[in-house]
């Protein structure tokens, strides 16, 4: 059994347009799903589940959202952490203060984030390029300010809300394994939904806008509508991610967790992982989650104890260096490296 396209004949367009047209891709996906749903929760330690897998999944979701906007539709956002914050706060308020059922609260957080994202996407109607990128910074600062200064949001305590215990239909979600499944289910659902969006008409419209917006509009793609949908979908994903990470990992909504640097980190994730690919969002998020741990371990081999400033500086250098490295060497990120490997195998055994 080899990964290849040779010898795989597709008899209908429907088959050619299937989500994974090549058999081994489907197999690979199956293996990944078994790994994620069965192997990891039963073998990984609680530390791995709650300190690595949970943030990895949540950031994957957020990065996926940003990738829709930046990687596919070509609109840079450097305020995406703020949309995560909106999701986090609003879902906690919905669930904790108004008793909305948990699944609805999480998606409700996404809806509120989506509304915020759409509002800040409106300038994209008139403002383009760097002017737009900078104005998304406005989202970051204005939302941060609102969340800390509006008493009603936090109930008055330094803009922080504690996450209450989670119940779904009276069933408590407290152990790392239960949380892991909650996050994984939402992630799987939204990833399939998102993958379908980007391989269909909406995704094509987005890519068209990214590559050549004037031509796209003349051909019949409404810039305003499609850009706004991009902002809405993108910040919905960010909001759900913010909600999930707060419920399961941070355990309290705190604006400090969603500062500007998270926005940069999300951007870094999609650059390193691969802009304009779903898979790249996962690569990037996984990489960025593991990077600090990896750096810490490396430093520990050369010194007894790692002071926090040395760790922070090393992270900044490696992170910045990698962004530059990938942009120069492989602008489509790790996902493209993976793709190249696959392409090589695809034509096997006749690479001509």
């Amino acid at each position: 059994m080899f990964y290849r396209e040779c010898g795989v004949l597709k008899e209908t367009y429907a088959k050619d347009m299937a989500i994974f047209p090549i058999p081994l891709d489907r197999w690979g996906l199956g293996v990944m799903l078994v790994l994620a749903f069965v192997v990891i929760p039963f073998t990984a330690s609680d530390y791995w589940l709650s300190s690595i897998m949970l943030p990895f999944y949540c950031f994957s979701l957020a990065a996926l959202g940003l990738n829709f906007l930046t990687g596919y539709a070509g609109q840079v956002s450097i305020g995406h952490a703020a949309f995560m914050a909106v999701g986090a706060y609003s879902s906690l308020i919905l669930y904790g203060r108004y008793g909305v059922p948990l699944p609805l609260s999480i998606f409700g957080g996404g809806i509120f984030a989506s509304a915020a994202g759409t509002i800040f996407g409106i300038p994209s109607l008139r403002i383009k390029g760097f002017y737009l990128a900078v104005s998304t910074l406005a989202a970051q600062f204005i939302i941060e300010w609102v969340l800390t200064h509006w008493q009603w949001v936090s109930g008055g305590v330094f803009g922080t809300i504690d996450a209450p215990d989670m119940y779904i239909f009276g069933w408590i979600i407290d152990t790392p394994v239960k949380k892991y499944y909650l996050v994984l289910c939402v992630l799987t659902l939204l990833t399939v939904f998102g993958k379908n969006l980007v391989r269909g008409q909406l995704g094509r419209n987005w890519t068209a806008i990214r590559d050549m917006d004037v031509a796209a509009e003349i051909i019949g793609v409404s810039l305003f509508r499609n850009k706004l949908i991009a902002f809405a979908v993108s910040s919905f994903y960010a909001g759900v991610a913010g909600s999930l990470i707060t419920f399961t990992y941070y355990l309290a909504a705190n604006i400090e967790e969603f500062n500007l640097f998270l926005s940069f980190h999300l951007l870094g994730m999609i650059i390193i992982g691969g802009m304009g690919t779903v898979l790249g969002s996962f690569f990037g998020a996984g990489f960025m989650t593991l990077l600090p741990i990896f750096i810490n371990q490396t430093l520990l081999t050369i010194m007894e104890r790692v002071p926090s400033d040395i760790r922070a500086n090393s992270e900044a250098i490696v992170f910045g260096g990698l962004i530059v490295f990938f942009l120069i060497v492989e602008p489509y990120g790790m996902a493209r490296l993976w793709q190249t490997i696959k392409e090589k195998m695809r034509l096997w055994p006749f690479p001509y």
């Binding site: 840079v76 008139r126 003349i218 650059i271 530059v324 120069i328 602008p331």
Partner: protein, 292 residues
Amino acid sequence: MTFFFEVLISGLLVGVMYSLVAMGFALIYKASGVFNFAQGDMSLLAGLALVGFLTVMPLWLALLCTFAVMTILAYGTVFIIFRPLVARPPLILFMAAIGLSFLIQGIGQAIWGTDAKGLNIGIPEISFEISGIYLNTFDLTFGGVATALVAGLVWFFQKTRTGRALRAVADDHEAALSVGIPLLRAWAVTWVIAGIVATVAGVAWGSRLGVQFSLSLIALKALPVLILGGIDSILGAILAGLLIGASENLAEVFIGPYVGGGIQTFFPYLVALIVLWFKPYGMFGKEIIERV
């Protein structure tokens, strides 16, 4: 009314600093099309380097060494990072600048430490009063230095051979290449100039607030200034800097108390957004006519 003027003047003095940082952005953007997100980090680096050198040498030598550091940074950036990226889309260059920003932060702080450091280059801070308005010598000195720097740059770009060559590069890359101006060297010179601008801003802010990580955040204050003025306009950067410096200070003092304060962080962005809605390329930015 006196109070109003005091607030206005202190706002304008802050605005001069915004103008400086924004000008650094505009210079590099004009010359190389790079939206240099690392401009604030360059100020941080300059501040860190100067503090470091001052511990072992006199001021003039320390300034010279700082200048050397900024020059090395400029050439390194252009020839290592941006040479392979020539002709890539602006978005990619922008993201490279974000990467650069983390690199400078990390390396600068790895060499000179992350703790907040005082910076004193011996400019006295004496308050005095003119017709009821309080001013101080420190602010005025830096206001003067900044103004001189701007005037110097204008002279440099208008009158000197190098300056004119740089402007030619900014106007049309290919045409400049065809008359024999080496593109990358021109970029590097521009980055050196932006480095000098960053140094002045870094020293001014560092002397007031101490040299530490937060210094790099002045870039965030300069960004709305930049887009308000128009990213490729030096004049725009200067005027918008003053406008934003003054208006944010006035807003904080006169509106802030009613809404809970702290509006300085986003007020400039709000102003910029509103203006951009009506003038999408800022006050003086070059409008891009869509051609297909």
